[in-house]
């Protein structure tokens, strides 16, 4: 316990987040083992882990780097479709589905990161809302291109067409991997909750280590004051691009996890609304707050499913909740009252145990 107290604040906070994720995983596994999970909940587990990964990775761009991105689902779809193709091609070569999964994930992450570089280099010339609109445009372009992409596999290798399935010219026994607007079907379902959990840990590990590194501090410096950061010799483009590309790569891996959980996926699933959903997770969880993002991603993925009995009123209620949360959390009077209450509680607790070191009391007051 002493070790825990002496740790510096970020390490402690990161450890709490890791512990939270691990405990949540164990609880879900335990519930699954004793049959405490409904089948709809079981089906939700992998999507939840996917959205947690997406929320963490988008937080890197929106919270840590301070850029508004409206095309995160675009990177997710790049990853999803790449992984489907990669895993199909590896089927003959690699026996173990576990290895195939990780290879598929890695390739998907790489492909999405490449897309991130491709879109990032031009995008990083822009600022603020202009950057947002370009990421939005990018997401739409990806969706449109995938809607017009046919990809087939036979003994001669990959066939690509932009017009229709017949133009692929597949030989007998060839398999269509991506079928235009119908997307990919007959996907090997090799992802599961445990793998999703591993991916969440990996994403957390990457993001935490990036944020607490020299580069991470540079990224945050650029966010807080671009001109000041530039004047001390930080290359703003480089660090903004770094955050953007890492985030894209992680989103691609999450997309791979998502795709390999279903029999079929369609490009239109990864549209503007999906990007917005991920953004909502990040904003409701608190920008730059990874733990908050994890919690809000989980709750907001489960909640709409739980509200299914409401039928058409479901999304209406979701919308109202969204607006109310934003209004309440940004209400200055309410926030002031809340802060005062918190301070009162903290002060009373400080009176109770006087042996606390002054440094910690100050820290508690600031929190």
């Amino acid at each position: 316990m002493k070790l825990f107290k002496n740790m510096d604040k970020t390490t402690r906070s990161n450890l709490i987040t890791y512990t939270m994720v691990i405990v949540a995983f164990l609880v879900m596994q335990g519930l699954g083992a004793i049959g405490g999970l409904s089948s709809s909940m079981k089906g939700q587990l992998v999507p939840i882990t996917t959205y947690i990964c997406l929320a963490i990775s988008l937080n890197l761009v929106v919270g840590i780097s301070g850029e508004l991105s409206l095309g995160h689902a675009g990177f997710m779809s790049v990853g999803a479709f790449t992984s489907v193709v990669a895993v199909s091609m590896l089927q003959g070569m690699v026996g173990s589905p576990l290895v195939r999964f990780f290879l598929g994930c890695a390739i998907a992450g790489l492909a999405a990161a490449c897309a991130g570089v491709l879109i990032g280099i031009p995008v990083m010339r822009l600022q603020g809302d202009y950057l947002a609109i370009v990421t939005l445009a990018f997401g739409e372009i990806i969706k449109n291109l995938l809607n017009n992409l046919w990809l087939g596999l036979d003994s001669n290798g990959l066939h690509v067409s932009m017009s229709n399935a017949a133009a692929l010219g597949l030989e007998q026994g060839g398999k269509i991997l991506i079928n235009g607007p119908q997307g990919a079907s007959g996907i090997e379902r090799i992802s599961n909750f445990t793998l999703g959990f591993v991916l969440v840990l990996f994403t957390l590990f990457v993001v935490f280590n990036l944020v607490n590194s020299r580069s991470g501090r540079a990224i945050m410096a650029v966010r807080d004051n671009r001109i000041a950061a530039e004047s001390v010799g930080i290359s703003t483009t480089k660090y903004r691009l770094m955050a953007f590309v890492v985030s894209a790569g992680l989103a691609g891996m999450a997309g791979a996890l998502y795709a390999m959980n279903f029999n079929s996926i369609v490009p239109s699933k990864f549209d503007f609304n999906n990007s917005i959903n991920i953004l909502v997770f990040v904003v409701l969880g608190g920008m730059g707050n990874i733990r908050g993002g994890i919690i809000s991603a989980t709750l907001l993925t489960v909640l709409p499913e739980k509200l299914r009995f409401l039928g058409n009123f479901r999304m209406l209620i979701y919308a109202v909740v969204l607006i109310l949360v934003m209004l309440v959390s940004n209400n200055r009077q309410l926030n002031n009252a809340f802060d005062m209450l918190k301070e009162k509680i903290l002060r009373r607790r400080g009176d109770d145990d006087d042996d606390e070191t002054p440094a910690q009391t100050a820290e508690g007051g600031a929190a």
Partner: protein, 293 residues
């Protein structure tokens, strides 16, 4: 003649985008927020006009008028309830609220009018105009759309340049605090901008539904995104920019559909946007702001 037909269709579609983009750009100019609910106000305008004509049997002119009034009120109410309390909040919070509002409008429409597409009755009962022995056919709705766009543009320019309220609007978009010190009621001015933008959205909704007569709760979202793109394309915050951006975008979209492929048209529109922003980072007519230290 195919080229000319496409050009006319493009300008007509672009005029609709331009009218919607005006709403985006004015709101952005004064409140510095991306009002994602704007696209759904278009849809509401379409539905109000549809109901007036279909169920109440009112003449089209009255339907359009009621749609404008309805949407204007809706815009003001939305601003008062959802955006005004967030005036001091970070811009992302406002953005999420706007998205929430967009979901709210879409799902309310889904509950009220159900999801089945409604066929929009024609507002104008004029015959098609045939030119060059019938090689070039112009539908009256495209002429009306272009005319409406021109009228709206002229009125809006006169309004912002010549009237006191317009001057107040420009002052607020330059510097809200200074405007307040000069005795301008900033809140009333912002409400006014929302009212004008939403009223224009209703007109755009009717024009859009007349040209593409299918009305669904999601009818407004894609034109909304496109018009938003158009506003950025022309330089967000600039009124002539919105008009130019809208018309260019409409023409590009129709040409891409005709000569490259229906499926890829949207991709091309967005790709052109990205290229334009690379060359001119503040849009075609936008003012480039240099940060001062």
């Amino acid at each position: 003649m195919g080229f000319l037909t496409n050009l006319i269709n493009g300008i007509s579609l672009g005029s609709v985008y331009a009218i919607i983009a005006l709403g985006y750009t004015m709101v952005y100019g004064i409140a510095k927020m991306l009002n994602f609910a704007h696209g759904d106000v278009i849809m509401v305008g379409g539905y109000i006009c549809f109901c007036c004509m279909q169920y109440l049997g009112l003449p089209p002119v009255l339907g359009v008028l009621l749609a404008v009034v309805g949407c204007t009120c809706l815009g003001v109410v939305i601003e008062r309830l959802a955006y005004k309390p967030l005036r001091e909040a970070p811009s992302l919070a406002v953005l999420i609220t706007a998205i929430g509002m967009s979901y709210f409008l879409q799902n309310s429409a889904l509950l009220i009018w159900k999801s089945d597409p409604k066929v929009f009755p024609s507002v104008i009962s004029l015959p098609n105009i045939s030119l060059f022995n019938g090689q070039l056919v112009i539908s009256p709705i495209s002429i009306i759309t272009v005319l409406a766009c021109v009228v709206v543009m002229v009125c809006l320019t006169l309004f912002t340049q010549r009237t006191k309220m317009g001057k107040a609007m420009r002052a607020c978009s330059e510097d809200k605090a200074a405007a307040q010190l000069m005795g301008i009621d900033v809140n009333a001015t912002i409400s006014m901008v929302f009212a004008i933008g939403s009223g224009l959205a209703a007109i755009a909704g009717v024009l859009l539904c007349s040209a593409y007569p299918v009305l669904m709760p999601t009818t407004g979202s894609m034109p909304g995104i496109k018009a938003f793109t158009a506003a950025v394309f022309g330089g967000i915050g600039s009124i002539p920019g919105a008009a130019l951006g809208g018309i260019l975008l409409g023409v590009i979209e129709i040409f891409a559909r005709a000569y490259i492929g229906t499926q890829l048209a949207d991709a091309i529109v967005f790709a052109v946007l990205i290229v334009v922003l690379l060359v001119r980072p503040a849009g075609l007519l936008g003012k480039e702001m240099h940060e001062k230290v």
